[in-house]
């Protein structure tokens, strides 16, 4: 399974990369902005996108919106990661059409389990 990772924090990007590898999947690209993420999604095939919300250029939720509005990418599995502690963040993310939400900080085990589950369903 090919995974796109988008997070502007390099250490966290690496942490997610490690989790993807631990889950036995392949990192298709690890980018630092929403714009790069959208470009990557159009340039290559991925099975799962792990998007941070707060990113320069385009936010994770804006990328998600474009994905859900796009004919070819509509069915892509998207996991949103956020450090936002707003009480209604889960509702917002769900309303935007995400398949999962992980709040920072998160146990790496949990992320690994989520990626494995997605891979099994494919």
């Amino acid at each position: 399974m090919r995974v796109l990772i988008a997070d502007d924090d390099a250490d966290l990007r690496d942490l997610v990369t490690i989790a993807v590898e631990k889950a036995g999947s392949e990192v298709a690209a690890a980018v630092a902005s929403g714009t790069e993420a959208w470009a990557a999604l159009q340039a290559m095939h991925v099975d799962l996108a792990v998007l941070d919300i707060s990113m320069p250029g385009m936010t994770g939720l804006e990328v998600l919106q474009k994905v859900r509005d796009d004919g070819g990418l509509r069915e892509l599995t998207v996991l949103v990661i956020t450090a936002d502690g707003a009480p209604d963040i889960a509702e917002q993310v769900h309303a935007a059409g995400a398949d999962g939400l992980i709040t920072k900080p998160f146990p790496v085990r949990e992320l690994v389990r989520f990626i494995r589950d997605v891979a099994e369903r494919l």
């Binding site: 250490d11 942490l15 450090a83 936002d84 502690g85 707003a86 009480p87 900080p105 146990p107 085990r109």
Partner: protein
């Protein structure tokens, strides 16, 4: 008391009110004429001595009449004057021929005076006087009953005068009664006039007061330049527009009063929400004072967020007369709130991201199974320290975010029927390791039956964790913490009692302030930032409950979380 003065003015001109000398004037004139006749060469003669005595008596009576009003004697003594006149007439008549005297007619003068006095007895006095005058010539022997006509005259004359006296007395009485009635009417009229004047003055005073109150109200309203005060009638038509309204909304008073409707000021879609373009329902919805956030539109079409208090107005009869809107421009407050929210969110995000890395990589460092590279016991211990401190920071960030949400009023709870018994036990389980490490005994007392109350289980759990961890933290080695659950008919109480260091009485009220720490906490070097109780109190308040605190320094502290609602469990 103007009434007696007016009474005197009205009675002037009636015989009864004449001065004694004025009344006596008739007798004086009569006697002067008689004396003139006697001394004239007409040829009527009489005894000089009685005539002089009679004149002297009349003159003496005149002196008395003049003097009487100036003495302290009762005005009733006035009666002496006509009585003396009777004697004078009797003397004059007798001295000038008795029955044939030409001056007998003078009798009428004292008779009128006496008979005009009030009361039947005056008739008798007058008749007695006449009798005395008629009888005197017979008594002194200058006349005798020679013929029948003499006897008739002796009886007839007093009888005629008696009838005259009765008539005069009656006329005087009727006149007197009429006068009394007139006086009564005059009194009533005076009272009426006085009370009318009084009510006119009162009405004038009230009008003045009312005008003064209106002036005061208007100047107070106009002095409030930071708030728009807008009054409307029941249909929402503007009839009050203060200077604050002028400066906030751009319409002058002349442009607003009578011309604007409240719906013109509320943003069109806000008015549309009430399905009433006229604004009737918009204003009609406010039964008591009500606070609302609205968007207001200025004259130039620009808009601003307004915090509006709406109250009903009443007229003097207590009937609803319209509404008063007090609007505050919330532009700055809204911007400030937005900046605060943005800042809190930024801080939260910026702190959580590095913490996520720390915790994530610490997790990766730990060997997952026997195939991973083993770590020494010391390395694992260091790793624990990093992990624990990262989690403390995380907790702090969470608490800060939570208090910011409470402050912004964006803190909501989700109530579901919850076993408080289970929450209390879970809190005890969480605190147990710390209590054990600190050698603090932890006792839990719960009722036999499960206590179920409708609360937000996450938040109440958080509140109990805060109270219990505080109690354990502030209780020295060897102390005890008791957690008691009580289920009352109207309230559920969770009591956390410790044998800790205590809190000074003057600091109890400040405990729930953000970042406040009791002096005893700092002295005993107990770690903390002072957010736990702020959060716990906010949670209690959100549940319509409260936190009760009782403490004695050196003895211990008891915190009680009181939640409304009794246990629903059977």
């Amino acid at each position: 008391m103007p009434a007696p003065h007016r009474l005197a003015r009205v009675t002037l001109g009636t015989f009864g009110s004449w001065s004694p000398i004025l009344k006596h004037g008739a007798a004086l004139t009569g006697f002067a004429l008689a004396t003139l006749v006697l001394i004239s060469p007409v040829g009527i003669s009489g005894d000089v001595v009685p005539v002089v005595v009679a004149d002297a008596l009349v003159l003496a009576a005149a002196v008395f009449a003049i003097a009487l009003p100036r003495t302290s004697l009762s005005p009733r003594w006035e009666i002496a004057i006509p009585l003396v006149t009777f004697v004078a007439v009797a003397l004059l008549r007798t001295a000038t021929g008795g029955q044939i005297s030409p001056f007998g007619a003078l009798i009428i003068i004292p008779v009128i005076w006496i008979a005009s006095e009030q009361g039947v007895r005056h008739i008798l006095i007058a008749v007695a006087g006449v009798l005395m005058i008629v009888a005197l010539p017979f008594l002194v022997g200058i006349a005798s009953v020679a013929v029948a006509s003499d006897l008739v005259r002796l009886i007839f004359t007093p009888a005629v005068f008696a009838i005259a006296a009765v008539l005069i007395n009656q006329i005087a009485r009727v006149q007197h009664d009429r006068l009394l009635r007139v006086q009564q009417l005059v009194d009533e009229r005076d009272q009426l006039v006085a009370s009318l004047e009084q009510s006119t003055r009162e009405a004038h005073r009230q009008k003045e007061q009312s005008l003064e109150a209106n002036r005061l109200r208007d100047s107070v309203w106009d002095a409030i330049t930071g708030h728009a005060i807008i009054g409307t009638d029941l249909d929402g038509r503007v009839n009050v527009w203060n200077r604050g309204a002028v400066s906030l909304l751009g319409y002058t008073s002349a442009e607003a009063i009578g011309r604007l409707a409240i719906a013109d000021i509320h943003r069109p879609d806000a008015a549309d929400e009430t399905d009433d373009a006229g604004g009737g329902r918009l204003v009609g919805g406010a039964e008591a004072t009500e606070l609302r956030d609205w968007t207001y539109a200025r004259k130039d079409g620009s808009e601003f967020p307004a915090h509006v208090s709406v109250s009903e107005r009443f007229d003097e009869d207590g009937r609803s007369a319209g509404f008063i809107f007090v609007a505050t421009d919330e532009t700055e407050a809204t911007e400030l709130q937005r900046l605060k929210d943005e800042f809190t969110s930024l801080i939260s995000h910026e702190l959580r991201t590095p913490l996520s890395s720390i915790l994530g990589y610490v997790e990766l460092l730990r060997p997952e199974d026997e195939f991973d590279d083993p770590m020494t016991g010391q390395q694992l211990k260091y790793l624990d320290v990093v992990d624990r401190n990262a989690r403390r920071l995380l907790q702090l960030v969470g608490d800060l975010l939570f208090t910011a949400q409470v402050g912004a009023g964006r803190f909501t709870i989700e109530r579901v029927p919850t076993s408080i018994t289970a929450l209390v036990r879970a809190a005890a389980d969480t605190a147990a390791p710390t209590a054990e490490n600190g050698h603090v005994a932890l006792d839990v007392v719960t009722p036999e039956k499960d206590v179920v109350v409708t609360v937000d289980p996450l938040r109440i759990g958080q509140a109990l964790d805060n109270l219990l961890s505080n109690a354990v933290k502030f209780t020295p080695r060897g102390g005890a913490v008791t957690l008691t659950l009580e289920s009352g008919p109207e309230e559920t109480r969770v009591i956390v009692q410790d044998t800790g260091i205590g809190i000074p009485a003057d600091e109890l009220d400040r405990l729930a302030e953000r970042f406040f720490r009791a002096s005893t906490a700092s002295q005993h070097a107990v770690k903390g930032v002072g957010l736990g109780l702020t959060i716990t109190k906010a949670i209690a308040t959100a549940h319509d409950g409260r936190i009760e605190i009782a403490s004695t320094v050196g003895v211990g502290t008891t915190f009680t979380l009181v939640l409304p609602g009794a246990s629903a469990a059977a």
